[in-house]
Amino acid sequence: MSEKLYAASHSHYPRIGESDAHLRLRRAYHQKDKGKITDQEFLNIEDSYVQDIILEQESAGLDVVTDGLIRWRDSISHVLQNWKGVHINGLLRFFDTNFYFRQPIVVDDVKIQDGWLQREVQYLVSHTSKRAKFVLTGPVTLASLSKIQASQYKDGDFCEEIARNLLSRIDSLLSLGVSQIQIDEPYIVKDQSLLPVLKGFLGDIRKSYHDRAHVILSVHTGDIASVYSDLQDMPVDSLLLDFTYSAKLPEIIERDGSAKSLGLGLLDGRNTKLENKEDIFPILEKLLPRLPSRGNFLSTSTGLEYLPRDRAYNKIERLASLVAEWNNES
């Protein structure tokens, strides 16, 4: 009998809904922009909103939760904002989504700031009784979606520079008590030339912190079939994969197996339609025998901010119930 699956939040979660309570963060942004509330008052509202999102994931039955990346303007500029040598500029489309991120412009030697992400990770860890996952956009995606104007950075230099800076701060974040660290690298599907840099970065994380946190590499928003074998070489504990772009991916995994435990992103994080047992269980039956017996989990294909809030909740509730039913049956 295979080890049981667990149910895990992917990463981001909607920060707006229809009710007054669900609209309070949006209103707080407007009030802050107009100077009607102080930074501290805004932070208090944001904190309470993050707490709601954590509770929502817990009440849906997820085993691993995130803070929904509620504080993030987007997955690129939030990570690089306030770094020395980086300006945050205009909007660009995030892959093929209808979501736009602000592009970082690299104008000088970059340096990560003190206290980077410390408070938000601390808040997450101290507000959940479940396993807390810290999500971080990886150096390949950050470098590739930035505009590099500083002449000292050629080819992959900037990616390596980001990796060095991130590594210098990860220790202080993991010491806060997160159970899992997830590196998101959607860009690796579009460009595999920086795989060696990514491999070195992940290797350093795992070497230093494998006894403290489970290291996950997440790849999404693109067809993973062509890079699946490369991903198997990455020094991580688990791979979290988006299954929605490739009909071939389940066949490849069934054929080649996986040496690493997998996060099965089988529930579509970008569509409101709810998957049912008939959609998911046949794939689990085929794939799980080809995976390590421990550490596999079910998730959505991407974060859920692309869905309306009520639909996102339905999705994680369904995710948790499918895992519970699978575990009961197996």
Partner: protein, 330 residues
Amino acid sequence: MNLESLGIKLPLFPVSSVGSFPKPLSIKKARAQFCSGEISENELFEVEKEATRKWIEFQNDIGIDVVVDGEMYRGDMVAYFAERLPGFEVGGFVRSYGNRYYRKPIVTGKVSWEKPLTVSWWEYAQSLTKKPVKGMLTGPYTIMDWSFNEYYNSRRDTALALAQVVRREVEALIAAGARIIQIDEPACSVRTDELSLVVEAMDAVTRDLSAYFLTHICYGDFEKIYPGMLDIPVDNFDLEMSNSDNSLLTCFKKQPFTKDLSAGVVDVHTHRIESHEEVVKRIREIAEFVPLKQLWIDPDCGLKTRSVKEAKQKLRTIVDTVKELRKEFH
């Protein structure tokens, strides 16, 4: 389709617009009043008609050659159609960027066309000018890509079902007298693997219909869809050129642009009004790669994000510049 065979004769470098213009305060106020029940739908309609009339008058006054109605009655380019078509539900809020959200439609049943959605607005606009007015529609691929789907089995099935709906609207516009019809497909440049679906769906919309068709595409990865995008069965591609500083011309250099081109020569995402010299330079550069008889001139995209004053200044700059260039090139 040859324009002259449709009874339309245009000058060298016909000037047009992509579609939307900024809404005046009167519409914003009327919409708020309508939402709170202070005014009736008919009263809102009259305010929208008056705003449309003023934009037509402005286009007549400055000498625009192919007029648009300005879309005073539309909010979002997909939601406007989705809210009026059987088979759709209005979805909840989804974030677009920063603190901006929109309601993303959901396909929940078989989509169908019951009655014209834009024809009365086209007729009204055409009654106010002797210049041809473009029929303005959103294409089936973009409506599919920018909606959730809970009904059809695949993206292809959804796009092709929507193509039949859009075709009915095109037929209604033609029956009303429209001879120039623009079918926007801004989503087609981001998921390059689905270009063949865009072509297939557009063919289902336009095949054997007697009109001059344009499509507007913007803010995507053109290098990856060119020259394949020329297979989209339309007569004219309306492309944002100035936002990328005419970088698209590198594609045209490798492979000639074989259709008519509506070249965007002013950026719609900046408050700055381009100088006459800048616009001349852009047009001259484009004219090196596209035969003069195939070249139309317009802004990069819809002007609805600019203020009324900025939009008018940008349009005036285009018209004045083109008038001068016509003298030189004739």
